[in-house]
Symmetry: C2
DNA sequence: GCAAAAACTGCGATTCATCCGCAATCGCTT
DNA sequence: AAGCGATTGCGGATGAATCGCAGTTTTTGC
């Protein structure tokens, strides 16, 4: 992970950050390389922050010492979503969560007890969905499949990461 | 469909409505037979009102001449959901929609152009989901599967792709 | 049947997630 | 370095859904 030391001039930090691969994505999306965007991208790339909500991301930014406005977090997340840099999901929590977009499509298993999210993909289900859509004369654009349940292993007594 | 004429005394109307089968559900749920609940149940039983939002249901009630508060509509829908009388779904519209609960589980195909909703159920997908959950040591409680796309028949005139 | 108890309703105010407007600032091209 | 257009941060505005409470309606006890 890349860290900004407080005494490094912002300009140079940005410049240094600008050459990481993540920022190629920003460029390609026509987004300027700004500190909020770079920092958010950085946090989002941390596997520990997959499926994080805007609010929670905002808090993490504060923890890391970045005073980025909540509105900006929402804006940047939307831009990243539009740019295909990350994906938005609506689990049952009522708030949207985001994950870095991966090349391979996948669906989600959500533990309602510990909030753990497991990703999976199943060719049979995918194919079946296409068939169903075709049978009903619908050109599929996307779908959402969320499986909700409870872990049956004991590591799920309370929230783990 | 049952209609309330404006000049019929409310008490008698309620009494008459109280013997319809839908109200057995109210009784069983421990809910009192009241005009708002009866009227909402009545509208919800109309196939044309499947997958309707609270807001839209509220408007329909006004159209039919029932001055039922929006808060009451939300409350009643929640109670009906809790009682298993109807089911709530979250499509991508951002607002929850409701449908009369049926005995057989089904999933949904949603046309993003005309908002049409098609119900389907697929044994293969269902079984597959169970297997996946089991494989990941999760006891499944429920799931949500929504397929989004665009009608390809002309009743849904559009060339958005 | 009738009055009290228990539920229910309507209204406005409130919450929660998310977004907007605008003035100040920053990144990027020249 | 300079200027323009994009971006940020703030507070305020949304829209969906909920809550509190006072007044009203069902149901219950007699």
């Amino acid at each position: 992970m890349i860290l900004l030391s407080t005494d490094e001039p912002i300009g140079s930090a940005i410049k240094r950050l600008a050459m990481t691969d993540g920022n190629q994505a920003l460029k390609k999306a026509g987004l300027k390389i700004t500190l909020p965007r770079v920092k958010i991208l950085e946090l989002m790339q941390n596997p520990e922050n997959q499926h994080i909500s805007a609010e929670d991301l905002y808090k993490k930014l504060l923890e890391v010492g970045e005073e980025i406005g909540l509105a900006t977090v929402y804006r940047v997340l939307n831009q990243f979503d539009d740019a295909g840099i990350l994906n938005r999901h609506h689990f049952e929590s009522g708030k949207a969560v985001f994950e870095m977009s991966t090349q391979k499509h996948h669906d989600h298993l959500v533990c309602l007890t510990c909030d753990k999210v497991i990703e999976f993909s199943d060719e049979v289900i995918e194919r079946r969905q296409d068939e169903i859509a075709m049978r009903h004369n619908i050109k599929l654009t996307h779908h959402s499949l969320y499986l909700y349940g409870h872990c049956t292993n004991d590591s799920c007594d309370h929230a783990d990461e």
